[in-house]
């Protein structure tokens, strides 16, 4: 979704000023914060973590509510899976809404690579990994800290409200976007789908 002030001229005209409108100022600050402190905290949580913050995040993620546990329990063999969780800037678990950070908890079950995309409420396709058509799925080695992927998504106004279908495709070899889509269409145990609702 295009940000509302993607054409700043329209926003400034509506605010009656040639200078940055209050909305634009707020958006600039949000971007600045996300690129600076937001990114620092994400890396810290995902890779090193302060003991208290990471413990909270891990506690929220690796001790899911009882009704969730069966989805992660191996049943007669290992099955790849993932869970979606959102955290605020302090690392506290929170509802998934604009401003929160979307984290991925993985159980690769022997898979070495992950492709991840989402179908949005307007049927738009959003790729998480690979990030570009020229790349292949994410190699998981070195990117998991206690099952939490060190790549997260900052939810913002570019993620309109609605229900998203997040699809993860676990493979043992790198795969292109086209290959991942084909695997997803075929289905199977390495394809995992989760629903994400953004208010």
């Amino acid at each position: 979704m295009k940000r509302m002030t993607e054409d700043p001229q329209i926003g400034r005209l509506l605010s009656g000023t040639e200078r940055a409108s209050p909305l634009e100022r707020a958006e600039i600050f949000d971007d600045v914060f996300r690129k600076t402190v937001g990114r620092e905290r994400l890396v810290r949580r995902a890779l090193i973590g302060s003991a208290a913050v990471l413990t909270v995040v891990l506690g929220a993620l690796i001790m899911p509510p009882k009704e969730d546990r069966d989805r992660f329990t191996a049943k007669g063999g290992q099955v790849a899976s993932f869970a979606l969780r959102c955290a605020d800037a302090q690392g506290q678990r929170c509802p998934c809404e604009p401003g929160s950070t979307l984290l991925f908890q993985l159980e690769p079950a022997g898979a070495s690579h992950l492709g991840l995309f989402a179908k949005g409420p307007k049927s738009q396709l959003i790729w998480f990994f690979p990030k570009s058509p020229q790349e292949t799925s994410l190699a998981l080695a070195g990117h998991l800290q206690a099952g939490i992927l060190d790549r997260a998504v900052q939810l913002g106004e570019e993620h309109p409200s609605g229900t998203y279908e997040v699809v993860g495709v676990f493979t043992r070899e790198p795969a292109s976007r086209a290959e991942l889509m084909a695997l997803a269409a075929r289905g199977g145990p390495q394809v995992v789908t989760r629903s994400l609702r953004i208010p």
Binding site: M4, L14, S15, G16, E18, A20, R25, F29, V37, P98
Partner: protein, 206 residues
């Protein structure tokens, strides 16, 4: 008086990256940075660095200034003793000089704030802005916009006020207007599209 003077609590929170502290610093100095970016400046020796009137480019520059100033290393390196304003202006100065060197974007001469190095060194205020006549087209755009907004229904006018004059987030504005976020987004899109149509009809938008 500098924001950080005799305020070690704010300095600690700023260096720690607390959002409220960063936001306070940002809001305090935003206008200064924006003015410098818009008006341009002269440098010692008479060279002139023009300002930027293009909204997207000025936004990009302002965002880059604060991103550099609020980066972890920069926050932790700031000692709270030196005034913060010159430090921020120096970042903006260097960015704008780099852009002139790279000849990036549309730059226009507007109304320079003065010799930037002297301003930074002595933390002096900017020289008064001249009464710069807005381009005729821009005046007409504002007139068309005012007529357009006046023609909107009460709900849409309320949306314009909350979002564009008061700067509320979509979530906050939706709550005030009794709408869902989705409804607000749709209505806001219609308002913006309607303005674009109104401007295009007058040949004032490409």
């Amino acid at each position: 008086m500098d924001l950080f003077q005799d305020n070690t609590g704010l300095l600690a929170r700023f260096r720690a990256g607390q959002r409220a502290a960063l936001q306070l610093v940002y809001e305090t100095y935003f206008t200064q940075v924006e003015t410098l970016v818009r008006r341009g400046f002269s440098v010692d020796g008479g060279a002139h660095v023009p300002g930027v009137s293009d909204p997207e480019l000025s936004r990009e520059l302002i965002q880059e200034v604060f991103t550099r100033a609020f980066a972890r290393r920069a926050r932790r390196a700031y000692d709270g003793v030196r005034p913060y304003r010159p430090y921020l202006l120096r970042i903006a100065r260097n960015l704008m000089i780099d852009r002139v060197r790279a000849k990036r974007g549309q730059l226009e001469s507007l109304d320079p704030v003065g010799d930037i190095d002297r301003i930074i060194e002595s933390d002096a205020p900017f020289i008064e802005a001249r009464e710069v006549e807005s381009a005729l087209d821009q005046k007409r755009r504002f007139e068309v916009t005012a007529r357009y907004v006046a023609s909107l229904d009460e709900g849409a006018r309320g949306l314009v006020q909350l979002r564009y004059e008061e700067g509320l987030s979509q979530v906050e504005a939706a709550k005030r207007l009794g709408l869902s976020r989705k409804q607000l987004r749709l209505q806001e899109g219609k308002v913006r599209d309607g303005l674009v149509v109104a401007l295009r009809e007058k040949g004032l938008y490409q």
